[in-house]
Structure formats: structure tokens, C-alpha cells
């Protein structure tokens, strides 16, 4: 009985090592579907099913992409947008994590700030964009502000939830070994709330990307959103699609990275 218990390997480790060797059925079907769509898209305007001026073609988009990377000052615009994103996001992290920790560990602070915070989280922070422009001008500053506002609330709220929902049994266990309040904070509350914090970061990424693009679309002199505006008025579907792809790829990659860290950290919660 006891030896059986000890020789038993957890099943997961074995499953895991094999699963990535053979592509899953969903991946095969997904790839085929995308290929079929591209072919259809390519021939549809030629066959006269749709107006190519409004749909463009995969080949045109490909050429536009090469053109954009070569001659469109792409790096300049991307750098501006990225700077706005990073500055706003970093600011949000610096403010929101301590705030979330404070709110999560202090009931009084939570009662005081929770309702307005929730309201701000639910309201689309983009409604504040015109005000930001009036206050901060049309340069990078209002976009940084909008990114900050979009990212700060999901991080605060999730960090707060992670902290305040810490398992009281763990806290009692720690106390039984003579843990100080500081020990409990660093060794129980912080690691325990890490998955929630990462969830907050992941939700914040989407909102922050949206903030940059909409901010630049609204009023700007440079950046990816500015380029979108430009090609929008010129009806350059091919170029618009390239930029749309770049923006989604950026947001998607960041989200996937955060999620994979999140899953790793959350592994232990699976059972």
C-alpha cells in the first residue's frame, strides 16, 4: 500500500512530455481554415464577387507590408507609440501595485476607495481623452495618461482581490511558526496574490493598447494611430490592414506572454 503510493508518478508529467509532439486536431483545422480564407480573399475581387478597392488582396497587403517597413518611417512611428505604451504602462504598474496591496491589506482603505475605483474601472476611461488633450496638449502626454488610466484599474482591483482573498488557514499556519506580520506579507500574501496580479496585468495590456491607438487616432502628429488616420482618409485598405495586423500582433504577443507566466504560477491551483 505504502510502496504503491510512493512509486506512483503523477500522471501530468507524462502527458505533458508527449502532447507537443503531435499537432492537435484543432491546430490542423485552424491552419486549414486560415489558408482557405486567404485563397478565397485573393480570388474574390478577381472573380467580381467583391470590390477589390474595399477588400484589397492578401498579395497587396503583403506588398504594402514590405513597403511600410522600407519606406514609411515605420520605426519612427512605432517608437512613438511604443514609448507612449511603455511610459503609461510603467506608470500604471508603479502606482497600481502598491495601491492594490494597500487596499488589499487594509479594510478601512478598501471601504473608502473601493466604490469609486469600481466605477472608474467599469467606465471606459477613453471618455476622459478629450479632457486629457485639453490639459496635456496633443503630444505624447495625453496618450500616456490614457494608457495609464486604462491599465491602472484592472491591476489595482486584481491585486487587491488577490491580497484580500488570501487563505486565512495559511495565515494561521504561518503564525503558528512565529511568522511576523512582515513575514506573512512577503511569504504568504505576496506569492498568494501573484496569479491575480498577473491577471490584472493581462487585462491591462488590452486596455493600454487600445488607449495608445485611440489616443493617436483622436489627435496626434505621429504614431501608429496617426498613420491609421492618414491611410484611412486615403482609403488605403492594404496599408490599414498591415497596421491593424501589427497592432493586434503586439497586443496578442504581450497577452500570451503574460498568460503563460500566469499559467505557470497558477499551476498549483489546478487541483
Amino acid at each position: 500500500m505504502r510502496s504503491a503510493e510512493i512509486t506512483a508518478e503523477p500522471a501530468e508529467t507524462r502527458q505533458l512530455s508527449l502532447s507537443f509532439l503531435r499537432p492537435s486536431r484543432s491546430a490542423v483545422i485552424g491552419t486549414l481554415a486560415v489558408l482557405a480564407f486567404l485563397v478565397l480573399w485573393q480570388i474574390a475581387p478577381t472573380m467580381g464577387w467583391v470590390n477589390g478597392r474595399f477588400t484589397s488582396r492578401p498579395t497587396e497587403v503583403f506588398v504594402a507590408a514590405i513597403d511600410i517597413f522600407r519606406n514609411d518611417n515605420f520605426l519612427y512611428h512605432a517608437r512613438i507609440s511604443l514609448t507612449e505604451f511603455v511610459a503609461g504602462f510603467a506608470l500604471a504598474i508603479v502606482v497600481s501595485i502598491p495601491l492594490g496591496v494597500l487596499l488589499g491589506t487594509s479594510k478601512i482603505a478598501r471601504y473608502l476607495i473601493d466604490p469609486p475605483l469600481m466605477a472608474l474601472y467599469i467606465a471606459p476611461t477613453l471618455v476622459l481623452l478629450p479632457i486629457m488633450v485639453i490639459w496635456l496638449g496633443i503630444d505624447m502626454a495625453p496618450k500616456i495618461a490614457v494608457v495609464f488610466l486604462g491599465a491602472v484599474f484592472p491591476i489595482v482591483l486584481n491585486t487587491m482581490a488577490g491580497m484580500s482573498e488570501a487563505d486565512p488557514r495559511f495565515i494561521r499556519m504561518a503564525r503558528s511558526f512565529g511568522a511576523t506580520r512582515f513575514d506573512i506579507f512577503t511569504r504568504v500574501l505576496v506569492p498568494g496574490s501573484l496569479p491575480a496580479l498577473l491577471t490584472g496585468l493581462r487585462l491591462a495590456v488590452g486596455r493600454a493598447v487600445l488607449g495608445v491607438i485611440v489616443g493617436e487616432l483622436f489627435v496626434s502628429q505621429a504614431g501608429i494611430g496617426y498613420q491609421l488616420n492618414l491611410y484611412g482618409s486615403a482609403m488605403r485598405i492594404d496599408r490599414l490592414l498591415v497596421y491593424a495586423l501589427i497592432v493586434s500582433a503586439f497586443g496578442y504577443t504581450l497577452t500570451v506572454i503574460v498568460r503563460s507566466v500566469e499559467n505557470k504560477v497558477r499551476d498549483w491551483r489546478s487541483k
Partner: protein, 264 residues
């Protein structure tokens, strides 16, 4: 002098959402000698955990006092370690990380933490599993880790609250025998709460039988079965005798519980 001296202990809780207090434990007196294995039995809700947590220094006393080696208990201390009733392993730490946790909290300076932890993990038979995380372990293995964590800090007194409560009967028996083996080597004083009558007898030098409303000690029964013990004693006459006595106690408690329910 006894190692643990509990005098006239009373613990009141405030009922949730009202100012009413109710007594979870009252007028409890108990002394435990150094190296003694004491089991505590009683029906659910009679205050067994409360008593144990009071000795651990995790709940405050309303009346009376608890002394350990002549020192008043005012909070948790390195002289005691608890094995909790529920899951209390940190899920983000490996087996070794969990066993190290108590050592870290107590700022242990008796040598290398990793080595100490590994020693304890091997003692409970989990040497090959030191890098596993709690969710990869069976219930029985998790309780071994809990025990290893408590033993690692080298306490004078080991406080165990139904550590095998969630296990099936067979695993429970094995774990009980295992615990005795460890205890006989480590020579700790042990307070062990359980629902299981056989377990209570098998492990004990003395059994504390508790009753309810409020929680109090009904009887303390000496167990003079020879040590080291193995499964064979489960069939001895002395064991049967003790089992009968404990059954009678608990049945009495059950019927009084039913009476209360009928009246209410």
C-alpha cells in the same frame, strides 16, 4: 513537574453577528508529562481544536492558564509546532519549500536549511518527492509533509489536529503506525486530536475524552498497552476493553445531542 500544565482553562467565542458570547471550552484542567502521547477524542464541535489551538497560542484564553515548561503561553513559540486539521501546505512551494517554511519563519540557525528539510522529508518517507508541489501529492503524502514541517523546527511539543482525518481507513492505519515510529525516535510530547476511537487508543499513553456544551474533559483514560506497538494489539483484550469504554462515552454524548435537538 509536568511539561504542559493547563489550569481552569476557559475560552469564549463571540457568536457571529451578535454580541452573545458562548463558551467553547470551560474548566479544562490537564497535565501532560514530557514525552507523553496524549490523544483527545470527543464528538464534533466539543472544542477539541479550540483546546489545541489554545496550547498553540493561536487563540486567546478567556479564563485560566496554560504553562509549558513553567512558562506561560501568550502566543506561538518555537517550543511548539502544529499539524493542522485542514490543508495548510503552501501550494506555490515544493515539498522541500514547505518543510523549510517553518525553519525560515523561526530564523533557524542550526545549519543548512535545505539539508535539515531533506532529512525530515526522508524521515517521513518522501525523499523522492522533495521537488513535487502539493497538488501532485496524494492526501496521505500531504499530511506527511505537514508532519515533516512540524518536526523540522524541532519542537518540544507536537500539536496535531486530526492530521489523518481526511484519509481512508487503511491509509490512516498505516500513517498512524508510521507516526508512532517517528515519535518513538523523535521523543516529542504529542497532543493528538482524533475522531477515530481505534486511532486514539493505538497511539496514546493517555486518552482525554471531551464532552460538549461547553467543551469539558469527561475522563482521562490511561493506556497501558506495551510499546512499541503494531497492528496486533488491535485484537488484544485490553484494546477491546478500552474501545468499549470509549464507545460508551461517545454514545452518551450523541444521545444528549439528540435530546438538545429535540428540545430545540
Amino acid at each position: 513537574m509536568a511539561q504542559i500544565e493547563i489550569r481552569d482553562l476557559g475560552i469564549d467565542y463571540r457568536k457571529p453577528k451578535s454580541n452573545e458570547v458562548f463558551s467553547a471550552v470551560d474548566s479544562v484542567a490537564l497535565s501532560v508529562e514530557k514525552g507523553e502521547f496524549v490523544t483527545i477524542v470527543g464528538s464534533s464541535g466539543c472544542g477539541k481544536s479550540t483546546l489545541l489551538m489554545a496550547v498553540a497560542g493561536l487563540v486567546s484564553l478567556t479564563r485560566g492558564s496554560i504553562e509549558i515548561d513553567g512558562k506561560q503561553v501568550t502566543g506561538p513559540g518555537p517550543d511548539r509546532a502544529v499539524v493542522f486539521q485542514e490543508a495548510s501546505l503552501l501550494p506555490w512551494r515544493s515539498v522541500r519549500g514547505n518543510v523549510k517554511f517553518g525553519l525560515e519563519m523561526q530564523r533557524w540557525n542550526g545549519g543548512d536549511l535545505n539539508e535539515r528539510a531533506m532529512q525530515m522529508i526522508r524521515l517521513v518517507g518522501l525523499g523522492r518527492f522533495s521537488d513535487y508541489h502539493p497538488h501532485q501529492l496524494s492526501g496521505g503524502m500531504r499530511q506527511r509533509v505537514n508532519i515533516a514541517r512540524a518536526l523540522a523546527v524541532d519542537p518540544e511539543v507536537l500539536l496535531m489536529d486530526e492530521p489523518f482525518g481526511a484519509l481512508d481507513a487503511q491509509t490512516r492505519e498505516i500513517m498512524g503506525a508510521e507516526l508512532l515510529r517517528i515519535w518513538e525516535r523523535a521523543k516529542k510530547t504529542a497532543l493528538f486530536v482524533t475522531h477515530d476511537i481505534d486511532e486514539a487508543i493505538f497511539l496514546a499513553d493517555k486518552i482525554v475524552v471531551m464532552g460538549r456544551n461547553p467543551g469539558h474533559i469527561k475522563e482521562v483514560i490511561k493506556v497501558d498497552l506495551p510499546r512499541p506497538r503494531n497492528e496486533a494489539i488491535l485484537d488484544s483484550d485490553a484494546f477491546h476493553e478500552l474501545r468499549k469504554r470509549l464507545r460508551a462515552h461517545l454514545a452518551e454524548d450523541m444521545s444528549s445531542m439528540q435530546l438538545v435537538q429535540e428540545v430545540a
